[in-house]
Symmetry: C2
Subunit: 216 residues, 2 copies
DNA sequence: AAAGGAATGTCAATTCATTGACATTATTTT
DNA sequence: AAAATAATGTCAATGAATTGACATTCCTTT
């Protein structure tokens, strides 16, 4: 079987397709063409077809795409048909918010534990899960087949914790700490750098204002 | 003055440069070459120079870049030398987490208010700021010169709220709702779709595992 | 069952982003 | 003060991503 690399540009668009297709499915729509999807999603029909073709193509010529089938297939590609054992490290506001906010379970993310080094939080229940001390983290990861660690701890400790998690056998890290982790390339890292995102927003706001004042 | 468009690819890298330069500055490092920065940040020196040149270039030939100067200049480009009035709409876990988590003020983001439609939350203080009912939102935005609205509300209401915010004169929206907002292009939107990010992570985990099992 | 129409899959062309190379210019050393 | 060195700024080349075009294939209608 040939292993052709699929670009992260394509991967980055899949969740959005998945979301729109889920909505179409919920609306009871059974079939859609790339052109119709293009109109709804505001991307070119050509890109949609090109993207899907990375995975062999899911449509029928002359007909279009079956919404439910396409939804399922993209879901499989994204691993939404599997379960993933997940822990949250850092039980501060953000960690708690993520634990509560996500309807993880609906997508196969099994919330297995929550860790912090603040004794005041030990035993506190978040989503029926007691916060455990950091000392227990590494054994827990090893013994419970944890796939994904969510890092919502300060950047000062994030790098070291990540390195240890790698040794414990973690497969992926969802990193909210404001630092770049230094892990082997076989460990997948997805960064969510919130302040970077906010800075992009301010750049674009300022840029728009400047453009306007120049043309006045 | 010429208005040359700077690609979002470049903008997206600026906050990371800003972060590394801030750290270098804090370490007391005064000068750095694109090659040294390249080694630290794991991007090509060519890209670094190319990126900076979009803004005219900040270095001195034969010398390199003055860390503090470069830090300040990139900060200005990102609007970090200005203040931005900001409100959070949706005082649930995520909204509260963002209010507490960010050291907004250090970067010029002035937290001006928090809104929700859950009466149980009205008056609750978050960061010395009482949660206000949604009814007061639109007048508040108009009267207090709000630049940025952070949307941490369910997707069902996000689209309508965003449309009204545009009428109220908002400039940018930091959108955590799991939906694409439909606003005029002069309004800047920065999406943080957390579950999209998590799906990318699972894709990459699965992909790595498949690659490995094939080569076994 | 055959003809016509519709929409995919795919190839080619174009646009955009990244990398490489080097002339130029400033700094540093002698 | 001059020569040597260092590193930028910039141009050209390469590579990647997106868009456009159309032949092929399947569906639908008659």
């Amino acid at each position: 079987m040939e292993t052709k690399e699929i670009s992260q540009a394509v991967i980055g668009r899949l969740p959005r397709y998945f979301r729109y297709l889920g909505e179409l499915k919920d609306e009871g729509i059974e079939r859609i063409s790339s052109q119709e999807l293009s109109d709804i999603m505001k991307v070119t029909a050509s890109q949609i077809r090109q993207d899907f073709n990375n995975f062999g193509g899911f449509g029928q010529q002359g007909y279009g795409y079956k919404v439910e089938y396409l939804y399922e297939e993209i879901g499989k590609i994204l691993g939404m048909n599997q379960t993933h054992n997940l822990i949250i490290i850092g039980a501060g506001n953000l960690g708690q918010a993520l634990a509560n906010y996500m309807n993880f379970e609906r997508r196969g993310f099994l919330f297995k534990g929550m860790f912090d080094n603040n004794p005041a939080l030990f035993g506190k229940k978040i989503r029926d899960m007691e916060v455990k001390p950091m000392e227990e983290l590494h054994d827990f990861v090893k013994e419970n087949n944890i796939d994904i660690a969510v890092l919502t701890i300060p950047k000062t400790s994030a790098v070291a914790v990540a390195e240890q998690l790698v040794k414990d056998g973690i497969k992926g890290i969802w990193n909210f700490a404001h630092v770049d982790l230094n892990v082997p390339k076989e460990i997948q890292v997805e960064n969510v750098h919130l302040s970077d995102s906010l800075m992009k927003l301010t750049y674009n706001i300022i840029r728009y204002e400047e453009e306007n004042s120049i043309s006045q």
